[in-house]
Structures are given as C-alpha cells and as structure tokens.
Symmetry: C2
Subunit: 229 residues, 2 copies
C-alpha cells in the first residue's frame, strides 16, 4: 500500500475558519489521506469570529506535505510578513505536489514568492491585490495553474476542494464525497458575488470591508516591493 | 441597546464539523450576537475526521440561549441516548426563540422529544429515521415549522444558516453575509443529492454508509419506543 497522502493546512490567529473547515470536510474524506493543521505552536488557534481550533503539528515538526493549503482571513495580513510562516511555505512548496489556497490565503502564497507570473484567485474583495505581489489575478471560483490551485472567497473552498479531490483521486471519488456531504447548494438569495448582489448590498459590504482592504493593499504593496514586483 | 442574542451550538465527539462550522461562519456575523459552542466539558472535542475544536461553555454553565442548534455526525447516535445532552436541549428549548439543527442533528432534537408532530429534515440518508421518533420527515434543504428550523445534510447548513439569518435579522443582513462569504456556489459536479447522483455513485455511498445507517435506525427505533411513538 502506498504511504498515505499528507495534506497540511496552515492555521493562524484571525483565520476565517470556513476557508479551512470547508476544504477539510472534503479532503479528509479522500482515501489513504491524513490532514494536518499546521501552526506556529500547538496552542489552540483563535479564528476571526472566536472559534478555537487545535493544531496537529507545527512549522518545525510538520513532515513533508504532498499538498499544502493556506486559508485566508484578516490574520493573513500578519502572515504575509511573518518569516516563520513564509519560510515554512517555501520549504514545503519545494517538494509538494500541489500548492494551494482558499480566499485571501493566495496573498500569503504570493508573499512567499510562490505565485510570480502565476494565474490565481482570491476573495472578490482581495483578488486585485494579487497583482501587487506579481501574480495574475483571475476572477474565477477555482484556478489551476500548473501545480498551483487557488479558490475564491470563503465558501468557494468547497468548490475548490472538490475540484482538487478530482485532480488527486479522480472524478468518481470526488462525486462520492459531494454526495456524502450533500453539496447540492440552494442559496436562499442570489447575491453571493459582486456581479449578482444588489448595488446597495455591495456598497454596504464594501464599506464594512474598506479599512481591512486598505490595510491589505498597503501590506501587499510593501511585500511586493521586497519581492521586486 | 438590547442584550446580545445568544446562539448555542452543541458540539460532541464524532461531530461532522462542517455541519457546525458552516452555520457558525454565517451566524457569528449577525449583529449583536454571540455564538457559544456547548459541550459536556470544556476539553477539546474531536470530530469524526479528527479535527479538534474547543468548547466555550458546558451544558451546566451555558446561560439561556435565544437559538439552540444541534449539528450531526456519527456521534449523534450516542447523543440520542445521553440524558445530559437531552436534558440540556429540553431545558434550553423551553425558553429559546428557535430550536434548530443541521444534518442528523434533527434526530437528536427528536430524541429529546422536541419534534413530535413537527415537519423536519435531515441528511438524505437519515431523513426517514425521523419518523421513528414521531417527526414528519421532509426532503427539503431547510424546513421551518413554527420555531423549529432544520437543515439537510452537512453543506446544507450554509443554506440553513442564511435562511435563519433572514428570519432573525431580515433579508438585507442575510444578503450582506452571503456576499461577504462569497456564497455563489459552483459545484464541479451535479451529484450532491440522491436525485442527481449517478446510480453507481449513489450505490457506492449507500454501501459505505450502510452500517452506520442501520445502527442509527436501531437507535432511533429504540428511542422512539421510549417516547411512545
């Protein structure tokens, strides 16, 4: 029997938990696969809405991963200038089969210098910032460029993970997982993207995100300069 | 200012984490709202795929909740005969504004005697077992019967939570949350329900779930007898 596939997901303070927990639910169902939650230490990590999740390993202890995944969330901005996190990602990416992200996690991959000239996506409110880090922003749900697989914002992580499951194990396995998790979505409203939301809703959300977006832009510009973008 | 709305989600060993984490991501974004994770003790709870989540309070310490929510997962079968859990739910349900569940969490509500004669849903592979507990099974994504709101399997928790958010705070707030979490789903395959999955996929998943389903049926029948169904 082949040695198990190792998937590692970074977790960090002020992570948006659904960026990680959605893909986790899909990918942990793959055969012969372990999913690790990797953090700086083994202390519980507090997400942006207060939920606490326990890491299974650390940057230092984590073995070589077949798939590395970075979720997003407000805390991603600290990670973008955190040498321990960026060093961990660079080291893992050198041998991983797939380097992946959900939501603003792609900005962290880009800050590690892993997305230069690569097509990638992110949360709709953040995808343009990828340019500042040398990546090519694409407004799609799931973007595959070589061994880089990125998903759009938060709940897009489920679409991302099913697409990745199909890449890793074939369509039949991915379809079985989709049925197990009853992913037959029926959103009560048609307003999950800036294209479909009513202008007033879009403006309200943009206003709420404005401060965070501007902070993110400043960090991305600063890191991009260091990367020579 | 009104005192904050308190939402409490039960967590327990072998919970399917996305049943809880999907709704959490939506409901924790409601204004003036706290979300508690309630367990028997404050020790980290291990979900069915290994992720560990830290409770915020216990059955004993949890204050009166405005909304109580029970997620599902294989561990739900232990909960259905656990007097501490059922007593907690009965006590909270007596004063809660809404009593809710996702996936097989509805079987726990039913085991607590809270769904007698009520329309409710569950995971597609479990919904029929509601009958054994005196509830009226409905194969829909989200079912509202009075102050009982139930969602179907796993990822349906996101649809459920947006519908509940609209009930609690109005459509505009729910729509804003939907846009924030970019819930504009694009499943890579059309096989998220028994109606759309290919027969071979459905049979494979049914075979994998057979043992668990039969165990669940036996527990539901036993508990239903005690409830006088």
């Amino acid at each position: 029997m082949a040695s198990p596939r190792r998937i590692g997901m970074l977790i960090f303070p002020r992570l948006t938990q659904l960026d990680m927990t959605g893909p986790y639910e899909v990918l942990a169902r793959l055969p012969n696969t372990t999913v690790d939650l990797v953090a700086r230490t083994r202390d519980p990590v507090t997400t942006d809405r207060g939920m606490q999740i326990v890491p299974t390993t650390t940057y230092t202890d984590c073995p070589a991963l077949g798939v590395v995944m970075v979720p997003g969330g407000p805390g991603q901005q600290d990670l973008m200038e955190n040498e321990a996190a960026l060093g961990f990602l660079r080291k893992q990416a050198a041998s991983a089969k797939y380097v992946t992200s959900v939501c603003t996690g792609s900005l962290v991959l880009a800050a590690a210098g892993l997305l230069k000239g690569k097509r990638a996506t992110s949360h709709w409110a953040a995808v343009d910032h990828l340019k500042l880090l040398g990546a090519i922003p694409v407004r799609e749900k799931v973007v595959v460029d070589g061994n880089i697989v990125t998903g759009a914002g938060v709940t897009s992580g489920i679409d991302f993970a099913l697409a990745l499951a199909a890449i890793l194990e074939g369509e039949a396995v991915a379809r079985e997982i989709q049925l197990q998790i009853e992913y037959d979505p029926a959103p009560p409203f048609d307003c999950g993207s800036p294209q479909t939301a009513a202008p007033a809703i879009l403006e309200a959300v943009k206003a709420r995100l404005a401060k965070l977006s501007e902070e993110r832009r400043v960090v991305a510009a600063r890191v991009g300069k260091k990367l020579g973008v």
